[in-house]
C-alpha cells in the first residue's frame, strides 16, 4: 500500500511525448563490474574498441611518423579542396533547415515533453554553449582572421588595401575592411552554429522526447530502425568518440603551444616542450576537478566564470579602442555579411580558391568533425526548450555574439594596421609574418594596460581549454557508457586523463598536426551523417505533432 505520496523533487508530469517503442533496453549491452576498487559500467564494445583504436592510432603516428604525417597531411587539403562544394552545399542546407524549423509549426514542439521546464537559465545555458565548442577559437581567430582576410586572402576577389611595396591604397580600404569582417563573420556566424544545432536538436529530440539513450546512434533510429543497436550504431558511436577525443587532444596539444607562445611574448617564459607539458597537465588537472564536481558544480560554474572574463575583455577592448569606429564596423560588417552571404556561400564557379578551400571548406570540415561533441553537449543542457526557442538561441544569438566579438577584436586590429602600418604589431605578426598565437597579444599591446589584458587573455585561453576538456570528457563518458549519464565517476576521470595523456604523447613524440588533419578529415563522412540527421529530425518531429499542446501557438 502506497498511501503517502511526496513528489516535491520532480516537476509535475512532463506532458505527452511520442516515446519510441523499441525492444532495446538502455544499458542492455553494458558491462558492469569492478577493477580493484574502481567500479565501471561501460558499453560493450564501444568503450573497448574506441579506447584501443585511439591507442593504435597514437602508436601508428609515433612509430611511422613520416608516413602518417605525409598521409594525413595530404588527405586533409585534398578533401577540403576536392569536396569544397559538398561542405559548402551541406552547410547551406543546414542553415536553411534551421531557419525553416523556426517558422514551421514544428517549432512549437518542446524538447522533453509538452510540459517540460528548462533545466538551465538563459545565462548558464549560453555560457555552456560558448565554452564547449567555440570560445577558444574566438581567442585565436578574433584578431587573426579579419586582418588576414582584409589584407591577404581577398575573399570574392575584393582587393587588398596594401600595394606590393606595403603602401596603403586608399581606394581599396573601405571595401577591404568590410569584406575582412564579413568573411570572418561568415565562418563564425550562422553556418557553424547551424551545424551544431542540427546535431544537438537530433540528439535532444530522440533522447528527451523519444526515450532513446543519449548517444549519437539514437538520432539514426528513424533511418536504420533497430539496427542502430547493433554494429551500425556501434560504428557511429565509435567514430564520434574517436573524432571527439582526437579533436580535443590535438587542440589541447596545439593550445598548449599557443598559450606558451603567448606566455613567452608577454612574460618572457621559455617556449619549450617542458612548459607545454606543464600547461597540459594544469589544464587537465583543472578539468578533472571540474568533471568530478559535475555538470552544475564544475562545468557550468567554469563556463560562467569564463563568460564574465570574456565579456570584461570585450568591453575593455570596445572602450579602450576607437569605440565609434568599432560600432560602425560592426554594422558595416553585418551589412556586408547580409549582402554577401549568398556569394560567400556559393559553392561553384569561385575564383577565390585560397579563401574558399583554405579557410571556408577547412572550417566547415572542422565544425562538422566537432559537431558530435558540441552537439551532444548542447543537447544535454537544452531540455525543456521548444524547438523554435532552441534554434533561435543556438543559431541566431551566438551568431550575433560572434559578430560583435569579431567586430570589436578585428575592428580594433584593422584600425591599428591601417592607421599606422609601420609600427603596428598586428601587421608584423599577421601580415608580414604569420604568427597566429601572438596576434591577440599584438593587438592588446596597442591598447592601454596591455600587461593586465594580456594576462587576462592567457587566463581565458587556458580556461576555455578546460571548459572544452571537461565537457568533452562528459560527452565521451556518456557515449562509451551506452548513453548512461550516471556511469561511475572514475570513468569520466579516465577519459579526461586519457585525453591529456594523448595530448602530451603527441606533443612530445610529434604527430599533433597529422592527427588533427585526420580528425578534420572525418568531417567529410560526418557531413553525410548530418544530412541524414536532418531527415531523421523531420521524421521525428512529424511524429511529435500530438506532443504540441493545443494552447501553445508560439515558441518562446
Amino acid at each position: 500500500m502506497s498511501d503517502v505520496t511526496t513528489d516535491q523533487g520532480i516537476p509535475e508530469p512532463e506532458g505527452h511525448t511520442e516515446v519510441i517503442d523499441t525492444d532495446f533496453e538502455i544499458g542492455q549491452d553494458n558491462v558492469e563490474g569492478t577493477v580493484g576498487p574502481f567500479g565501471f559500467d561501460v558499453h560493450n564494445p564501444v568503450f573497448l574498441i574506441s579506447g584501443l583504436t585511439i591507442v593504435a592510432f597514437v602508436f601508428y603516428t609515433l612509430v611511422f611518423q613520416e608516413q602518417a604525417t605525409a598521409a594525413f597531411g595530404a588527405l586533409r587539403p585534398w578533401l577540403t579542396g576536392t569536396f569544397d562544394w559538398v561542405f559548402l552545399t551541406s552547410a547551406n542546407i543546414f542553415v536553411l533547415f534551421c531557419l525553416f524549423l523556426i517558422v514551421s509549426p514544428w517549432g512549437s514542439v518542446r524538447l522533453g515533453g509538452a510540459d517540460a521546464v528548462p533545466d538551465y537559465s538563459y545565462s548558464g545555458w549560453f555560457a555552456m554553449l560558448f565554452a564547449a565548442g567555440m570560445g577558444i577559437g574566438l581567442m585565436f581567430f578574433g584578431v587573426l582572421e579579419p586582418v588576414y582576410h582584409m589584407a591577404i586572402s581577398q575573399p570574392l576577389g575584393v582587393p587588398s588595401p596594401f600595394a606590393e611595396d606595403g603602401t596603403i591604397i586608399e581606394a581599396n580600404v573601405e571595401a577591404a575592411k568590410r569584406m575582412g569582417l564579413a568573411s570572418t563573420i561568415y565562418h563564425w556566424g550562422l553556418h557553424p552554429w547551424a551545424i551544431y544545432a542540427v546535431v544537438a536538436l537530433a540528439l535532444a529530440l530522440f533522447s528527451f522526447n523519444k526515450g532513446l539513450p543519449l548517444t549519437i546512434r539514437s538520432a539514426f533510429y528513424p533511418i536504420f530502425g533497430d539496427r542502430v543497436w547493433g554494429w551500425t550504431g556501434h560504428v557511429i558511436d565509435i567514430l564520434a568518440v574517436f573524432a571527439t577525443l582526437f579533436g580535443l587532444a590535438t587542440s589541447l596539444g596545439f593550445g598548449a603551444q599557443q598559450a606558451n607562445a603567448g606566455l613567452e611574448h608577454v612574460f618572457g617564459i621559455a617556449n619549450n616542450a617542458n612548459v607545454q607539458v606543464v600547461l597540459i597537465t594544469v589544464i587537465t588537472g583543472i578539468a578533472l576537478v571540474s568533471v568530478v564536481r559535475g555538470l552544475d558544480g564544475g562545468v557550468k560554474v567554469l563556463s560562467e566564470i569564463n563568460m564574465v572574463l570574456a565579456a570584461l575583455l570585450l568591453l575593455f577592448v570596445l572602450l579602450a579602442g576607437p569605440t565609434m569606429v568599432i560600432f560602425s564596423d560592426f554594422f558595416a560588417g553585418l551589412g556586408t555579411y547580409a549582402t554577401e552571404i549568398i556569394a560567400l556561400s556559393n559553392p561553384i564557379g569561385r575564383e577565390d580558391t585560397g579563401y574558399l578551400q583554405g579557410w571556408t571548406s577547412f572550417y566547415w570540415a572542422w565544425w562538422v568533425s566537432w559537431s558530435p561533441f558540441v552537439g551532444m553537449f548542447i543537447a544535454r543542457v537544452s531540455r525543456g526548450r521548444t524547438v523554435r526557442e532552441f534554434i533561435i538561441c543556438v543559431l541566431i544569438i551566438p551568431s550575433l555574439v560572434c559578430v560583435l566579438w569579431m567586430a570589436v577584436f578585428g575592428g580594433v586590429a584593422i584600425d591599428q594596421v591601417l592607421s599606422d602600418p609601420t609600427t603596428s604589431a598586428v601587421k608584423a605578426q599577421v601580415i608580414d609574418s604569420y604568427n597566429p598565437p601572438i596576434s591577440l597579444f599584438a593587438m592588446l599591446e596597442g591598447l592601454p594596460l596591455a600587461s593586465i589584458t594580456s594576462t587576462l587573455g592567457i587566463v581565458l585561453v587556458i580556461v576555455f581549454f578546460v571548459t572544452s576538456s571537461d565537457s568533452g570528457s562528459l560527452v565521451i563518458d556518456t557515449i562509451t557508457a551506452g548513453g548512461k549519464i550516471d556511469a561511475p565517476l572514475p570513468q569520466r576521470v579516465f577519459w579526461c586523463t586519457f585525453e591529456g595523456a594523448v595530448a602530451i604523447v603527441l606533443l612530445l613524440g610529434g604527430g599533433l598536426s597529422a592527427l588533427q588533419a585526420m580528425v578534420i578529415s572525418t568531417g567529410l563522412p560526418f557531413t553525410f551523417v548530418l544530412l541524414l540527421m536532418c531527415v531523421a529530425i523531420v521524421k521525428g518531429l512529424a511524429a511529435e505533432k500530438n506532443a504540441v499542446p493545443p494552447t501553445s501557438g508560439g515558441g518562446s
Partner: protein, 138 residues
C-alpha cells in the same frame, strides 16, 4: 523515537539493496512509522525509465510492492538531477528534509582503498544530513 524513514534506492541495482530494505522494514514495523523510498534519476533516458515520469512510475510501483510484501506504510519520492552521479548525496540530504524523514537507512559498500580518495555516498550523507543515518553494509 522516529517518525519517518527515508531509504535511498537505486532501481537499477535492486539486488544490492536487500539488507537495507529489510532493515528499514523491521524498523518501520517496530516504530509503526512509514518508509519513503527516494530515487534519483537523470533527465536523459536511463535504465530505470525513458522519461522522469516513467522513472517516477517505476519508483511508485516499487514502493507499493515493498509496502505489500512487508506490510508497512510506504511512499515514494523521485528526484531529478542534471548529473546524478555527482549530485546524488546532496539531493538525498535535501530530500530527507523535504520529506521530513528523521531516519535514513541506506546500503553502503564495504570500504576499499578508493574511499580514501573519493568519499562514499553513505559517508557524505551521514556527514551532511540532520537526520539519523544508518549505513547498512552489503
Amino acid at each position: 523515537m522516529f517518525s519517518k524513514i527515508m531509504v535511498p534506492v537505486d532501481l537499477a541495482h535492486q539486488d544490492k539493496l536487500t539488507k537495507s530494505l529489510e532493515c528499514a522494514a523491521e524498523l518501520a514495523r517496530h516504530f509503526d512509522i512509514p518508509v519513503v523510498y527516494a530515487g534519483v534519476t537523470g533527465t536523459a533516458p536511463g535504465v530505470t525509465g525513458h522519461t522522469p515520469e516513467e522513472f517516477t512510475r517505476h519508483l511508485a510501483e516499487f514502493a507499493a510492492a515493498q509496502g505489500e510484501s512487508a506490510g508497512i506504510s510506504t511512499a515514494h519520492h523521485a528526484i531529478i538531477s542534471h548529473d546524478p552521479r555527482v549530485e546524488l548525496d546532496a539531493k538525498l540530504v535535501r530530500a530527507a528534509e523535504e520529506i521530513g524523514a528523521d531516519l535514513i537507512v541506506l546500503e553502503g559498500h564495504v570500504p576499499n582503498v578508493l574511499d580514501h580518495f573519493l568519499p562514499s555516498d553513505g559517508g557524505i550523507v551521514a556527514k551532511l544530513a540532520k537526520a539519523t543515518v544508518m549505513v547498512v553494509r552489503n
